[in-house]
Structure formats: structure tokens, C-alpha cells
């Protein structure tokens, strides 16, 4: 398909990035200041890109809807960041990280991108350490590593349980340095509401000042979207409350293909919802599964307290089904099995929506002190949230949405199908295939921002020297602003009866039930009929109060939920069309006899990228074939 040119460079896998760096056109240092670049989002990807681009000399405008760049949700990542440093001398290498990532992604990612990611992973650690990121260290003062998410080598760098926070602070500080130097213009509490094109090329964005409600435009030579993932479409997720798909979706509506929307990642160890009004799910480190044993009562609707259930009436279902890996089966397997038992009616807790993660055995074996030393902070967090003491009563856990591998389609240069518009970090679809390895999200966000985009953006800009930015009073901007204003007016004037949260919650239930951990044809079709019905109701019965000329978080949310409706439909369609199971996408119709995901490499070893064709028609599905020259496609087995 001509429209999907991934622009993968020539050469052997290890040479592609090197070759590409040499073949790309450069912008003379003195000319960089003649280019303006807009970066939307200040998470790991956005902040690192904005800082790096402005260090190169570009004039950068950076936008965040938060009150400070430091609040982006990258801050919540706990586990760590992978890098092929091989400091532990256990046989890691760029190639191994590349291989593991492609395999972990269930062979649905682009080899060239993943190899580049593994190559620059080492630079990220150097950069972060030099910025003062307080990584964990050994007594000799050198960096400590741990094995994470079932990896066979210790390649994960970490900063207690707050690696994301510390890396984000590093990127934020780099950004602050550039703001102080006057080369980055910071716009806080400002949300992107449209991407503007002139003659088919991105020329700027339309934003709304969340405090004054003012809608305005900003123009630039290039627009970079670093706006994160769309997990919040599920309503209950581990994402932050304000995380949304709006920027990516607005770009999609303007011509950016949206790829692999059905690839979502579930995290198996989250605290289950306690009531209807629960606003988010809290993730607990997966490391808990190293020592905890997962079980449910044998009997249905068992209302006994866990300690009253005798050993003989407990079903340690993971140990039973997967004797070799037991409780340490991969995320998706653990998650799906939890769903199966809960759906059977064996769920535990008041809402029957969890499974037990029991530490009684390890406490018996090693003593409470040892367990406290290992997991003390997690146990405290659990007790704080649930009011139950996990030293005495088994924890209740349930899977939750945590990361989205799908996103805006980008080529090797991270450019979307809109020329001049780039997408980086979780917002794009690129490197994780159908499933992301633990501790790779931080790696990808920073790789894109620090070490990929600053190179590739120049290749496109070099040919545009002397081109002026499109003035913001150009009709293309005025039209886009008018459209945004009319959408705001439309929201404010619906005057229905239900709050935006209500609609979001209802949408979330549909998406979770039918496009969640396990998808079926019937379910997806049902989603495709229920979502539009709810969407229609949304546009009729939404009630927004207050004014559009002040801070109005319900209004902000209405715009985001409206886009979630459209996204949810695309997710269902994408899941429906992908007649196979792979990674985070599990179609019940396509499983092995052992209940494993069954890929169909012959028909689906491709990226599905959807093209917006108008509000009243269904998007067109395009395919980018994935060619695997360096890894052999295998079927997983955890028996």
C-alpha cells in the first residue's frame, strides 16, 4: 500500500540506524533557530524531546494540560527501565534486548524500530545518570540492576519503586533548563483540541486555555504529539484521571492513521474496585507474584472469609494449570486466568471481583520480617487502600488496563501519515508490538525523545529552510478554531441529565466487558452496537454546568470522553478484524488446546493502520506487512 511507507533503512539490522543517521539531511546549527517546533505533552517522551530539540537550537513551544510539566503520568511508573548495558556480565546485549522485545511483543512489532530502541537504550542510562537521576546503587557506588518481568538477564535499572518519577524529574529538569535559557516556551494548563493542516502538512495546533477557556492557535514547522496512551477508555485503569486520547485522535481525524488500537496491556496485580464510585485502579508491583500464591475458593459464591477456607477447598489455579511456571506465568496468562475464575463466579471480595494473592506460606517459611523487608511498602499501600492487613488476610487482586501498545501509526522517522506531524512515546504504536515487556515503556519514551526524534526531525526540516510558519490568522487556523468553539458550545448547550463521568463509566464497562482481556466475535459486535447507542445518548443527555470561560474540568472531560467513544469503536473494529490472538489481544476463538494465544502469522503478521474517512463512515483498514529477518517466529508455551 503506497500510503504506508515505513521508511525502514537498508542494511543489516545492526547497521540500519547507523546508516540512516548518516544518510539523513542535517540542518546547519545556525539555521536550527529558524525552525519552530510544537511539542504536545511533557511526559518522558515530550519533555525529553522538547529539551533535546531546544538544546540543538530549534525554537520549541511545549504544551501540557497539567499545572506543571512534572505531573505527567510517566511519573507513576514503578518498576524500572531496561537497557542493554550488560553491567551484570550475564550475557545481555543489544541483540538480546532486541530479540526479547520482538518476542515479547508476540512478533507484531517492526524489527528495525526495536533494534534501534535497544541500541539507544544504553545512552538513556548514561544521560539519566548524568542528570542526577538517583538510580539504585551498589555499595561500590555503581549502578544496580535487577531482573524484571521474567527476563532471563538483569538489565533493569531502577530507583526504588519510583523509577518513572525520577526519570521524569530528570527530563523535566532538562526542560526547565531550556525554559530558563529562553529557548522553550512553556504553556501549562493548555490542552490541544485540534491539529491544523495546510496543503496537507501539519502547520500548527488549536488549543484551549483551561483557566480562561480561551481558544487559540499556535503555528510551527513541525508538530510532535507526545500525549501518552488511551487506557482511560476503560474508565477504570491505572492511568491518571486526565490521561486521554484527544491529541492523538484529533490528529487521526485530520489524517494520521491509527494503528493496532486493539493492542492493550493488562496488568495482573491491581487492587480490585471496591465500589461503583471507584475512580481508578492502583497497580501493585508484579514482584508480589514471586512469593504470593494465587487462589480462589473451589465453591461458587463462597462468602467465607479466606482464612476459613480449608486448604482442600482452595483452587491454586495457576499452579494447577501451569506446573512449571506456576504463579509466575506472563502477565496476559495470569490476567486471563483470573478473569476466567471470576467469570465462573468464584471471585472473592464484596463485589466478587478479585482473586486471592496469599502470603501465608512465605510468612510461615521466612517469617513476617523477611516479607516486610521485601514488600513492606506494597503491603502498607494495600492496607491503606483496602483497610485489610495482608500479613493476616490474603490480598485481593484483579487485572487492570495499564498500557496501550496501539497508537498513532508512525514511520521509522516517527512521522505520522500527516507530513510534519510526529508522534512519540506511548502515543505512537511503534516498538512494543502486541505486548510490551516490563520496564520497556520508560525506555521507549526516552529513546524517542532524547535520541531518535532529534535526529529524524531534521531530515524533514532541512529541506524547508526559509519557509515561514503559517500565520495563526490564516483561514486554516480560523476554521479549526471555529470548529473547536462550536464543539465547546455544543457541549455546553446539550442540557441533558447525566454527568460526563456517568457516560465515561458506562462506556468503560462496555469496553472492559467486550474489548478487555478476552474478546469474541459476538462480544465485539455487541460492543459495536452498544457503543454508538451510548454515544448517541451522550450527545443528547449530557449535562455540563458552569461556564466555558473558566476552569471547568467537566467540560474538559466531555471532549475527552467524546473522543473515547470514537476510539472505542475503532478498538472493537480492529479487534474484530484481527482474527488471531497475539500478545495483549486475545480472541477466544483463536487459542491453542492449552488455552494459549494462537497467532496467525500467515494472515496477520502486519500492522493494521486505520484511516479516518469521515465521521459518518467506517475507517479504512490499511496494512503494513511485518518482515522478520532476524528473529524466528515461535509459539509460546508455559506448561
Amino acid at each position: 500500500m503506497a500510503t504506508l511507507d515505513s521508511k525502514i533503512p537498508d542494511g543489516s539490522i545492526a547497521d540500519k540506524w547507523e546508516n540512516h543517521k548518516f544518510s539523513m539531511k542535517l540542518v546547519n546549527p545556525n539555521n536550527k533557530r529558524r525552525f519552530e517546533i510544537i511539542v504536545v505533552g511533557t511526559g518522558l517522551a515530550g519533555a525529553s524531546a522538547a529539551a533535546s530539540l531546544s538544546e540543538l537550537g530549534y525554537r520549541v513551544k511545549v504544551f501540557t494540560f497539567h499545572d506543571s510539566p512534572r505531573r505527567a503520568h510517566s511519573i507513576a511508573a514503578q518498576g524500572g527501565i531496561n537497557a542493554a548495558k550488560n553491567y551484570t556480565n550475564d550475557g545481555d546485549s543489544v541483540h538480546r534486548l532486541f530479540y526479547d522485545t520482538v518476542k515479547g511483543g508476540d512478533y507484531r512489532s517492526r524489527e528495525a524500530n526495536v533494534h534501534r530502541l535497544a541500541e539507544v537504550s544504553v545512552n538513556i542510562i548514561d544521560q539519566a545518570a548524568a542528570q542526577g537521576v538517583p538510580f539504585a546503587r551498589e555499595y561500590g557506588g555503581l549502578l544496580d540492576n535487577r531482573s524484571f518481568g521474567g527476563a532471563q538477564v538483569s538489565r533493569t535499572f531502577y530507583a526504588r519503586g519510583q523509577t518513572g518519577q525520577q526519570l521524569l524529574l530528570g527530563a523535566y529538569q532538562a526542560l526547565a533548563k531550556q525554559i530558563a535559557a529562553g529557548s522553550v516556551e512553556l504553556h501549562t494548563r493548555t490542552e490541544l483540541l485540534d491539529v491544523v493542516l495546510k496543503d496537507g502538512r501539519a502547520c500548527g495546533i488549536v488549543t484551549r486555555d483551561l483557566v480562561s477557556g480561551e481558544v487559540g492557535s499556535h503555528s510551527a514547522h513541525a508538530v510532535v504529539l507526545a500525549t501518552g496512551g488511551y487506557g482511560n477508555v476503560y474508565y477504570l485503569s491505572t492511568n491518571a484521571m486526565a490521561s486521554n486520547v484527544t491529541a492523538a485522535w484529533r490528529a487521526h481525524r485530520k489524517g494520521a492513521f491509527f494503528a493496532n488500537a486493539c493492542y492493550t496491556q493488562i496488568h495482573p496485580t491491581c487492587i480490585p474496585a471496591s465500589d461503583e464510585f471507584q475512580s481508578k485502579l492502583t497497580l501493585m508491583s508484579e514482584s508480589l507474584r514471586n512469593d504470593g500464591r494465587i487462589w480462589v475458593p473451589d465453591t461458587f459464591d463462597d462468602s467465607r472469609s479466606p482464612n476459613e477456607v480449608p486448604e482442600g477447598e482452595r483452587d491454586y489455579y495457576l499452579e494447577r494449570k501451569y506446573p512449571a511456571f506456576g504463579n509466575l506465568v506472563p502477565r496476559d496468562v495470569a490476567s486471563r486466568n483470573a478473569k476466567t475464575v471470576v467469570d465462573q463466579g468464584k471471585g472473592v471480595g464484596t463485589l466478587k471481583n478479585g482473586v486471592y494473592l496469599d502470603f501465608a506460606d512465605v510468612i510461615d517459611r521466612d517469617g513476617e520480617d523477611v516479607v516486610r523487608a521485601k514488600y513492606g511498602n506494597l503491603f502498607d499501600m494495600y492496607e491503606n487502600i483496602t483497610g485489610e492487613n495482608p500479613y493476616k488476610v490474603p490480598m485481593r487482586i484483579y487485572p487492570a488496563i495499564h498500557y496501550t501498545m496501539g497508537g498513532v501509526w508512525v514511520d521509522y522517522n516517527l512521522m505520522t501519515t500527516i507530513p510534519g506531524c510526529y508522534s512519540i512515546g506511548e502515543a505512537n504504536f511503534s516498538d512494543h508490538g502486541a505486548n510490551r515487556l516490563g520496564a520497556s515503556a520508560l525506555m521507549q519514551g526516552l529513546a524517542d525523545g532524547y535520541f531518535v526524534l532529534p535526529y529524524t526531525i531534521g531530515d524533514d526540516l532541512a529541506g524547508r529552510l526559509g519557509e515561514a510558519v503559517v500565520p495563526t490568522d490564516d483561514p486554516v487556523f480560523l476554521e479549526a478554531e471555529a470548529a473547536v468553539n462550536s464543539q465547546v458550545d455544543r457541549f455546553m448547550s446539550i442540557g441533558g441529565t447525566r454527568s460526563v463521568d456517568w457516560f465515561h463509566r458506562e462506556l468503560g464497562k462496555i469496553v472492559w466487558d467486550y474489548i478487555g482481556m478476552e474478546r469474541t466475535k459476538e462480544g465485539l459486535e455487541k460492543a459495536l452496537s452498544e457503543i454508538p447507542a451510548l454515544e448517541e445518548e451522550f450527545w443528547k443527555d449530557l449535562r455540563l454546568l458552569g461556564s466555558a470561560a473558566t476552569l471547568n474540568s467537566s467540560l474538559e472531560k466531555a471532549g475527552r470522553v467524546a473522543d473515547f467513544f470514537e476510539l472505542a469503536k475503532l478498538m472493537a473494529r480492529d479487534a474484530l478484524e484481527r482474527e488471531e490472538s497475539c500478545g495483549g489481544h486475545f480472541r477466544a476463538e483463536h487459542q491453542t488446546e492449552e488455552g494459549e494465544a494462537q497467532r496467525d502469522d500467515e494472515n496477520f503478521a502486519h500492522v493494521a493502520a486505520w484511516e479516518w474517512t469521515g465521521a459518518d463512515s467506517v475507517q479504512t483498514r490499511h496494512q503494513e506487512e511485518l518482515i522478520f529477518e532476524n528473529v524466528a517466529l515461535t509459539q509460546r508455551s508455559y506448561k
Binding site: 542510562i125 538517583p134 492502583t282 454527568s499
Partner: protein, 257 residues
């Protein structure tokens, strides 16, 4: 079944930075004790929308105690009465049935109210911009293991870096001083080898920027008590020392040991 609480709330409502605010009383019935404080506010807002009143604006985002967006003075205490806990991690089981809870924004002149309980904390960003960074351009870093950092120094640096920039220290301080925030951000970088080159310049600039927004510390220690991340007062002493050192030291000799 979880316990249900009936509560009376007095919430600060204010339309904008330059408008006068006032307390509004709301009743919250059937609040589950498993709710977080913010979910309780969500529930009230849901009720307000039903009855045609403008919902209460409050700052929040990650709801897992790490982003530093949520704020609120709850019964006169920043982030409520629980020690080392953010508002989003404060759960209703810590309250009693029939309680009256007073909810106010963080107050300081440098934290103007944006609306209701939302305040503007951008002065914190200005402090960071004044020097809260290590100037290393992307790509300029040498191998991460080239500079060993003593484990204890790295750990203490982390203790400081754990600051989430929520502003509770300023809110709790009778002087509206930002010493705890600034010293934590400063100590994070000043304590490790990577931060030494700019140590004194950074200290001078950050302290002086801080002082252009905030009041003066009187060593009460309220900030530490309010801090959701338990940042130590020791960092303030450390900052005071480095500041005067910065003024007195001949930095041209910094290369000599």
C-alpha cells in the same frame, strides 16, 4: 459490607483569582469507607450535577500519591491528618460518621486560587528553572558507571528527590515559606558528584528565586509533618549551609581539593 458514613462538608468555593470566596456547606450521605477522599468529592460533584449546581473544582490526577497534583487543606491540615499521605490516598475510613470536614485550598500569596480548591503552584517551576537541574545536554553524558556515587549519598539524594512538588509544605507553613520544597530539590542534586559543578551557583539562584515568592522559615517543622513524602528538615539545614558557603566561597578554586 463496608461501613457507610454521613458527613457534613464545608467547602471553599471561589469563582476566580480575583473574586471573593466563601464556604459552602454540603452533606454527603452513604459515603463508603473504602472511598478515597477525592472519590468522596467525586460523589458530591455527581450529586451537584444532578441538582444543577456547578461541581467543585479540585486538582487531582494520578490518584496514587505520586504526581503531586492533589492538594487540599482538610480540617486545617495539608492532605489531611494522616502522616505521609496525599489527599488521593487518604481514605474515608479515617473519618467518623457524623464528622464535619472543612476543605480549603492550599493558601499562600504565591499560590493564588484559580478556582474553588485549585491553586496555581507555578512558582515552584520558577524555582526549578532557576537552577534545579544539572546542565548536561542530550548526548553529552559519559558512561553511567564512570562516576561511582557512594550508596549512602545516592540514597539520601533519593530521599530528597522523592519530593512530589505538591506544595503542602508551603500550605502548612505559618510563614508561607517554601524551604522544604526548595531544599529537597537542591539537596537531590547537591548531594551527588554529578551536581557539584553547579552546586553553589544553583544554590544561590534557587534560594533567591524562592525568596522572591515565599516567606521566611522559622524552623517550626510544620512542613515536614505535612509532607506526604516525609522529606526531612535536615535538607533545610543543608540548604542554609550551602547558601552561605555559596556567598563566601571563592569558586575559582573549586577545582582544587
Amino acid at each position: 459490607m463496608s461501613k457507610q458514613l454521613n458527613l457534613t462538608l464545608q467547602v471553599w468555593r471561589q469563582n476566580g483569582p480575583d473574586e471573593a470566596g466563601h464556604f459552602e456547606t454540603y452533606t454527603a450521605e452513604g459515603i463508603s469507607e473504602d472511598m478515597s477522599f477525592l472519590e468522596m468529592l467525586d460523589t458530591i460533584n455527581e450529586g451537584l450535577v444532578q441538582s444543577g449546581q456547578t461541581p467543585i473544582e479540585f486538582d487531582h490526577d494520578c490518584r496514587e500519591g505520586i504526581c503531586g497534583t492533589c492538594s487540599l487543606m482538610i480540617n486545617g491540615q495539608a492532605h489531611g491528618q494522616e502522616k505521609a499521605t496525599t489527599t488521593c490516598q487518604l481514605h474515608m475510613r479515617k473519618f467518623n460518621d457524623g464528622d464535619t470536614i472543612v476543605v480549603e485550598p492550599f493558601r499562600a500569596r504565591a499560590f493564588p486560587v484559580v478556582r474553588d480548591l485549585v491553586v496555581d503552584r507555578s512558582s515552584f517551576d520558577r524555582i526549578i528553572e532557576a537552577g534545579g537541574y544539572i546542565s548536561v545536554n542530550t548526548g553529552a553524558a559519559s558512561d553511567a558507571n564512570l562516576t561511582p556515587v557512594p550508596k549512602e549519598a545516592a540514597d539520601t539524594s533519593f530521599d530528597a528527590a522523592a519530593c512530589i512538588g505538591c506544595g503542602a509544605c508551603v500550605a502548612a507553613c505559618p510563614n508561607s515559606a517554601a524551604q522544604l520544597f526548595t531544599s529537597a530539590k537542591l539537596a537531590h542534586l547537591n548531594l551527588i558528584p554529578q551536581g557539584q559543578a553547579q552546586r553553589f551557583e544553583r544554590t544561590e539562584n534557587m534560594v533567591e528565586t524562592m525568596e522572591s515568592f515565599f516567606g521566611s522559615c522559622t524552623n517550626h517543622g510544620e512542613c515536614h509533618e505535612a509532607c506526604p513524602k516525609d522529606i526531612s528538615l535536615d535538607f533545610i539545614a543543608f540548604m542554609n549551609r550551602d547558601y552561605v558557603k555559596a556567598k563566601v566561597k571563592n569558586r575559582k578554586l573549586a577545582g582544587q581539593t
